[in-house]
Amino acid sequence: MPEAVARSDLDALDRRLIVATQAGLPRVSRPYDAIGEALGIAGEDVIARLRRMLDAGVIRRIGAVPNHYAIGYTANGMSVWDVADERIDELGARVGALDFVTHCYRRPRRLPDWPYNLFAMVHSRSREEVAVRVAEIAVLLGDACRGHDILYSTAILKKTGLRIAG
């Protein structure tokens, strides 16, 4: 059930590098040297290992994660859709490409409690704007969609980010 793939060929040092950097990069002139020093390897080895993990997809990207609220995206609606199975992959790719959709996944239905198989996260400045964008998705899906809902978040109960144990 979990969405795992085979463990990549990461060695023990790669895993130590993940643990050392998952909370963030040091804000110093030579951050890779600083990490290398902590791990007992050269800064250029840190760079080479990060490069390899980026190429292998173990690292998605290296950059900043803004707080949605702080940059003005105060409304967060998880739009969920019941899309015909034979069309979901074609349409899911188009929904995912919309510039206001930040995440888009196919997930299993849980009948009878949950009929929806496409999840598209929409971030906007207001609920009204989320609703407008969700309407755009509805137009795109057309009659391949049998129903949808928007689940607005009303509180962040916890947010610590994804971590692996050291």
Partner: protein, 165 residues
């Protein structure tokens, strides 16, 4: 996208100090492709017409004020041998606080949001091994006495940082 702001939208979380124009240029420039060179901040600063000390100071300040939640490599945990899954629960209103405390106490719970729906609690579980997901789900059901609906990703259509500051 224009800078969003100034509306009367209720903010769910306490608003962080608003980033200024330079902060926003930094956020937009650091969405990905941070240089893998010995002095990466100097390179980014030069691109933005700032000096390195100013960039570092602003980055620290934005992390401190929580305008940025983090800065560094984003790992795809499954590719590192771990696993994660989206899960939801139907929590009775009267028990919401108790269940929140119980669920959040699990270190495997990375994010947890309250949402307006019969399924009113949505969280992401992240574990070091694929087996950890089922173990944690079972443990949460045992502690809370409520069923957990797991929604594993079957396919990812497109995931990219597209929000502009």
């Amino acid at each position: 996208m224009p800078w969003p702001g100034g509306g009367s939208t209720p903010v769910v979380e306490a608003a962080a100090a608003v980033p200024d124009e330079t902060d926003r240029r930094i956020i937009n420039a650091l969405q990905g492709d941070f240089p893998l060179v010995p002095e990466p901040y100097r390179e980014v600063a030069a691109r933005l017409g700032l000096d390195e000390a100013e960039l570092l100071r602003r980055l620290d300040a934005m992390l401190e004020r929580k305008v940025l939640t983090r800065f560094g490599p984003m790992f795809q945990i499954e590719r590192a041998g771990g696993a994660f899954v989206l899960a939801a629960m139907r929590v009775p209103e009267t028990e919401f606080e108790r269940v929140t405390d119980q669920v959040n106490a699990f270190p495997e719970v990375a994010h947890n949001y309250r949402r307006e729906h019969a399924l009113n609690m949505w969280f992401v579980l992240a574990t070091a091994t694929p087996e950890g997901i089922a173990e944690t789900t079972t443990a949460i059901e045992a502690v809370t006495g409520l069923p957990v609906f797991a929604f594993p990703k079957e396919r990812e259509y497109f995931v990219e940082m597209k929000l502009h500051a």
